[in-house]
Structure formats: C-alpha cells, structure tokens
Subunit: 458 residues, 2 copies
C-alpha cells in the first residue's frame, strides 16, 4: 500500500481485518459486470458503524478513494476497485438487528442478504418481498435502488426502506428516516442515499418494511407461440388492473438455456410467462380466471401449475439462475446485460424492436423481463477477447437505449449506472447531472466515495 | 415594492399578472395555519415554466426571497409571506397536461387540485388516490410530501410521483424522473424535491401514477364504547394484514362536532371508525368479514353501510370537513393541529396518552386519525388573543412530540415542518439537519427559496 501512514492507521483500527494480499484484492476487484478487474490497494473489513466512520475519516484526510463492496452482484461496474484507493467490504456487518413483525418492519446491517433475512423471518409470518434474482446484500440493494420480480406488487427498494444509517465521507454517522410508516420530517435524505451507488457515503444499516406472508401463493407457467403474444398478455394483465405478484417473461432462447442449466421438466422451449398470485385463495382464483382469459386470447397454452412448494421453488430458482445459466455458456466469458424500462403500453413495441435488432445483428440474446413494470433484460454472452462481438453488443445497446428513451422509458429500471451507463445517463437526464454533481461535491468535497461511478466529476 | 428595478423587470415579464395591492397580498399572506399573516411585497402569477424561470432568475440576482403558494391549505406556515420578498402563486398553472390511462399515469401542472384531477379522469377508469382531506394542489402536495386517508393502501406522494419539473433558484428548469414505473438512473432528485417545502426550487409539473378504479367500493361506519376499543380495532386490522383502503378514526368530540357541522344522520357521537374497502366484490366481502370479527371482539357496533354513492360521499365529506368543522367552533379562532405518526403497534399507547393529557389540561381536543398508518391529528381550536390557551396547547404538543419520539415515531406524518416544527425537527433528526442545510446552501446559495421554512440557515 503506497500510503504508509494510512496503512498504519487503518491497521491500528482493524488489526487483522485489513488485507493487502493480491488474492483478496483480486476477489474484490469487480462484480458480475463486464469490466476488467481493478485491484484496490487494500481491502478492509470493518465490523461496526464506528469503524466505518474512522476509516472514512482517515481516507478523507488522506484523500484516498473508498469503494464500498457488498456481495459483488452488481452488473454495472459499481464495485470495480480503485487502484489508488481501498475497497471496504461490508461482509462482517451481516446481522439482523431487530424484527418487529407486528409492525411489519425490521432493521438489518448492510450485508444481510435478502435470502438470509427471509430465512431469519421464517417463523414470523412476514417476509421481505424485494427480489432482484441475485442473493444480494440489502445495503447494496439500497445503494443501487434495486427491485426485481416482485416489484409489480410490492414496490422497489425506494418504497420499502423507511430509514438508513449512513456514514458520510467525513466520518459523520447519521440515521435518516425511522420506523414509522410515513414521515414528512424535512428533506428525504433516505431516498437521496437510495440509488447513490456508494458515491455519497456508506449505507451501514437499513430499516425495511416487511409484508405479511400471503394466505395463498399460486404459481403457474404459460407458453406462447410468439414472444409478441407473451408480452401482450403481460401488458394486458397489468392494464386490466389484475392484482399479480410476479409476471416474468423468458424468451425462447432463455427457456432453452434454463431448461438445460436448471434441468427443468414439464416446460417447453417457447416464449413463456411465469405468473405468481399472492392473496387469499378466493382472490387468487378470481385473478387467475382473468389472466387465463387474457392468455387464451393471446394464444397462450394451458397454465401449468407449480402446485407444491418444491415445484414453485424450482421454477423460481430457474428464473433467478437465468443470468448464471447464460454466463455458463462461455468459458471465461462475460455477460452484457441491458436494463431498459418503458411505460407498460410501450413494452410490446420495445421488446419487438429488441428481438428484431438482435436477429439482424446475429447475436445470441436470451431475454428475461419483469414485464409488469415494463422492464426487461437481454443477457448477451460474449468473449472479451473478440473485439468484434463486444462492438456489436454495444451498438445494439445504444440503439435499444435510444428506442427506450423515444418511448419515454429509462435507461435503467433497476441495475443503476455504475461505470457502464454514465454516457447513457447524460442522454436521459442531461439537465439533472449538473445538480447531481453539485450535491456530490458538497457532500464529498474530496471525491473519495466510489469516484468515477454514476458520473465523472471533472 | 421596495426594489423598483425588480418591480419593473417583473412587470415587463408578467404585465398585469403582478399585484401590489394590499388585499391581494393579504389573500396570500398565510395558509390555514396558526400564524399571523405576513404580507409579501408583491404577488406574481406566472403561467409557464419559462415565466417561473425568469422570475426566479431575477429574484436570485436581486437576492429577493420567493414564497411559492398553491391552494394555501398548508397547516404549518409553509406559505406565510415574506415581508422582504414576493409570493409566487401557481394558480394560473392549473392544466392537466396529459393522461395515459393504459399506463396509469398522468402529468399535471402544479396547481391542478386532486378533486380537479379526479373530475378530469372520471371517464378513464382510473383515479388519483392520494387524499389529504383538503382539496389541495398537487404541486403543494408534492412539496409537503402529503398523504391522507388512502395512504394505507395507495401510499403517499413519495410513492406515486415518478417525475417532476422543477425550476431551480437560479432559473434552470429541470425535468426529473420520467414516465416509467421505476428507474435507477442516478440520484433520486424527484424525492429530494418531494417534501422540500419550496426551499430548493419550485415544482411546476408533477408526473403521477394513477390507480384503476376498483370494481367494488364498500364503506362502513362502526361505533365503539371507548376510543381505546376503536384504536385497537384499527391496529389489529392492520396487523392481521387485511387489505383495506381507508381506516379513519374520529373520537367522540369530533363526532359530535361533525354531526352538527355536516348534518350527519344515522351515526352516533361515539368513538368511531370509518372503513373503506377497494377490490372485487368477493375480496371485499372476505376482508369485511375479518374486520367485522375484529371489531366485535373490541366491542364495536354493527357496521352501518354507506350503500349508495351519495351516502358514501356524504360520509367522506364529513371526514374531509373535520378541520373546517373545528375551525367553525370559534369566531376568528385558529386551529392548532398535531401530526405525530408512530409504528402501528404503538398507536393505542400514543392515542391513549394524548387523550389522557388533553383531559388533564382541560383542552377541547377533537381527534381524527389515519390509523392504518399510525398517524393521527388532534385539532385544537383556540382564541389567539388568549395567550394562556395557546400556551397549554403548545405544552401539550411538546409532550405529545416527546411521547411519539419515545415510541420511535415521527413528529410529522404528513403535514411537514414549515415554520411550526423547526425545533421539533431538530429533536427528531439533529444529525440530519446539518446535511439538509448544506444541500440547501448548495442549491440555493442566496437563500431566496422560501427562507426560514423547515430550518433557519443562520
């Protein structure tokens, strides 16, 4: 580590919880993104808010960059290391701090993952509904404003977080928001940190709203002869106002890959919707009748019911593993993932555009979509050594971004900006970025917090 | 107007849409709060974003304060005038700009009121669900992070706004967020302006999520022998996870006042809950059965159904008019309104505490509550000439605030800070206020935007 005095000071705080070894630094050098790894000079593993505070205070004094690192499941380069800085892993801050089931809330340290939390809550009649697929850390999900398959019913991290503990770049520890379901007490700092991608401070604790476990959960799969039919079904389901908990699309290519990777049985390699209904048995049946009707009108197959917990788990596991199933297609390959989101009335046009263009370019393009929210991902595996492949993919994403903006959509429904979408952010919000930068400069005058992510300051 | 050159420049922009008359200035000198009116030097009535921009640019150059004014229904002093500044009325910016019913969204100018919007949407099968009681402007509701009777099902302004047009203090016009249901594109500027109470810029347009009109709406009234029984029923309904659209409490005192003021028939002057269920007929019936059971266990009366639209309208009109019914009790009187909000498991304790303390103090204290969210208001009418009365009320609110903070609640569930709760904000969020101030200083270096509201800068 170049800065010997900082190294000494950090070691005096952290004892053996600072690593300078190349192998550790390499483990924290990137997420699940397309970037080349960048090794920070050290990786530190604080255990308390106070330790995080002392670390940031020191780094701020030394003007040394800090990259916060959760589970490393970012797809956009958020956690790519900094060669002049340190990476701060939150992995030792992984405790559930409190659960109030009768208030539907809980407080967790940043690195509690969503699966860990739901395991912890199992006996309490409540669950945490935001499901981005990956078993991500809740702090990271807050920092990237994540959502996922259940957002259509339960909202996004923005709507389920009521408070945070954040360590500011100068080491100040602040507690935003609180436990009450709503509040109008001053600026909404909680939501300023949600989606700030580690550039304004480090989220160390998250106060979350939970949901009652529904009396009845019913999951089904429905195949369609064409992707257009599947997407239309999803669009019409939402437009009809049917209460639905999940409505996930997988295109033909993705179904083929998932059937192989996840050893799925009883399903076909056809454009497919995965449905899930949460409610009472009666209300679910009502909803299902409507969706069944809409599906049939769009040439959908009979619903195949995942009628046991095991079948349901297997079905959703396959959905969650979609990204991994694609990555497994290429040795040492990378996966370029798109993340546009458009108003629901434009989703058919947008998906059809994407399908046509990938075909034109001869790309392999498995697709999954949180169609209820107008959000879908195309996961394009490629070999980073083949420059040509990447160029095509990049070109495709450029035109998809332009299309989604033309359709009044956004460049990112849920993955965030990171390193990857800085130029796209300027396309979507040219008039917002200067204000974002001025807030950043005020809160982090030495630009130590995850510099170069979301935007370049200079 | 003291600043002659500013007056000239404003007049050249606005022609006759600037008023220096005492009567107009008096009309815009306060809201429905407890403050003495303060007359700004002029009131301006811009019609476009560009006019607002030119006005702010000028005022910023001249370092002249600007107080944004919507419908003036603030209870906290947000719109009290500024003797050195101007008041900017948004009343001429009252157009619905677009409605996309199939996407459940619309865009409105800031001074469209919620009733106006719902009237406009009547044929579209969608409605705007946030209902703070007053027929407030949507821009003002955004600026104060309002919510109201339907938040328990439909959320608050924070969750239904997906974008804004804001004019910054330097005159820059920015468009935050967008039409897609979710986005992770950079800092959440939309939510920074929501609840900023006109201190960071002027919200001129609001992009809103709408909801499908439910197939079935069922409203009922239930009386209880004691307030404790009523509150427990609400608490248990929420804790059971029953889907409910509204669950409003009125205490005995408020019921008496409302029966007189709103000429209500068929109801009694007893602690009361107003329920509303939105869903399919079957799902509503299921929910009602559960709530009926819970009510009975807490000594509730038989449900009285508002089974026609007229009856329902009358019932809710009485609820909306609660504040006006209290104000009508005293000639030239004022109404001091509390707004604490606590976790649902603490609501019974908090309401019981309030009831005991008002009795001790011999205050008249009609109460209404959005109990499903843990939020309730005590509306205390008083004569501003009687110093003693105000002192008692102020003392009561102080101890209620302390109690709600002790119960991990917030000082304001939905009314905001304004002039009234600046000291309370420091109690709730002492560690947040410095950061709020530094954001304010960055965005409004001349402190022209609604200075003195939320916090004092110096």
């Amino acid at each position: 580590m170049e800065n010997v005095s900082l190294k000494k000071e950090l070691t005096s705080i952290l004892k053996d919880r600072i690593s300078l070894s190349e192998s550790t630094r390499a483990n924290f050098a990137r997420g699940e993104d397309t970037y080349d790894p960048v090794l920070s000079q050290a990786v530190v593993f604080p255990e308390t808010n106070e330790e995080v505070s002392r670390i940031l205070k020191l780094c701020n004094e030394h003007k040394v960059p800090v990259v916060p690192f959760g589970t490393g499941t970012s797809l956009e380069g958020h956690v790519v290391g900094n060669k002049d800085g340190i990476t701060l892993s939150l992995e030792k801050m992984n405790k559930v701090l409190s659960v109030n089931a009768s208030d539907f809330d809980c407080r967790v340290q940043a690195n509690v993952t969503r699966e860990q939390l739901n395991e912890y809550l199992r006996e309490d009649g409540v669950f945490f509904p935001i499901d981005p697929g990956a078993n991500a850390a809740l702090g990271g999900m807050a920092a990237t404003s994540a959502s996922g398959t259940m957002a259509v019913k339960y909202g996004t991290m923005k709507s389920v977080i009521t408070g945070l503990t954040v360590v500011l770049p100068n080491g100040d520890i602040i507690k935003t928001g609180g436990r009450s379901k709503k509040s109008s007490a001053g600026y909404n700092l909680t939501n300023l940190f949600i989606g700030s991608e580690g550039t304004l401070g480090i989220i160390t604790e998250v106060q979350l709203r939970l949901s009652p476990i529904p009396e009845s959960i019913m999951s089904a799969v429905c195949h369609f002869p064409s992707l257009d039919d599947a997407v239309k079904t999803a669009q019409e389901t939402i437009q009809y106002g049917v209460p639905i908990a999940r409505i996930e699309m997988l295109n033909k290519d993705q179904m083929e890959i998932s059937i192989n990777y996840s050893k799925l049985e009883d399903v076909s390699a056809l454009p497919t919707l995965f449905f899930e209904f949460h409610g009472s048995e009666t209300s679910n049946k009502e909803a299902i009748n409507i969706v069944d009707e809409i599906s049939k009108n769009n040439n959908g197959s009979k619903f195949k019911w995942a009628d046991t917990i095991e079948k349901r788990k297997k079905m959703w596991k396959a959905r969650w593993d979609a990204w991994y199933s694609v990555r497994a297609l290429i040795d040492d390959g990378r996966v370029y993932t798109t993340d546009v989101c458009v108003p629901i009335s434009k989703i058919t046009e947008c998906v059809n555009f994407a399908e046509k263009e990938v075909k034109k370019l001869g790309l392999r393009a498995p697709m999954v979509g949180h169609l209820g929210d107008g959000n879908f991902h195309i996961m394009m595996p490629y070999n980073p050594k083949k420059d040509d492949e990447y160029k095509k993919i990049k070109y495709f994403n450029d035109i998809l971004i332009d299309k989604s903006l033309e359709l009044e959509g956004t460049i990112t429904g849920e993955h965030g900006i990171g390193l990857h979408k800085k130029n796209y952010l300027l396309k979507e919000h040219p008039d917002n970025v200067p204000l974002m930068k001025s807030i950043k400069r005020t809160m982090d005058p030495n630009n130590i917090m995850n510099p170069g992510k979301i935007f370049d300051l200079n």
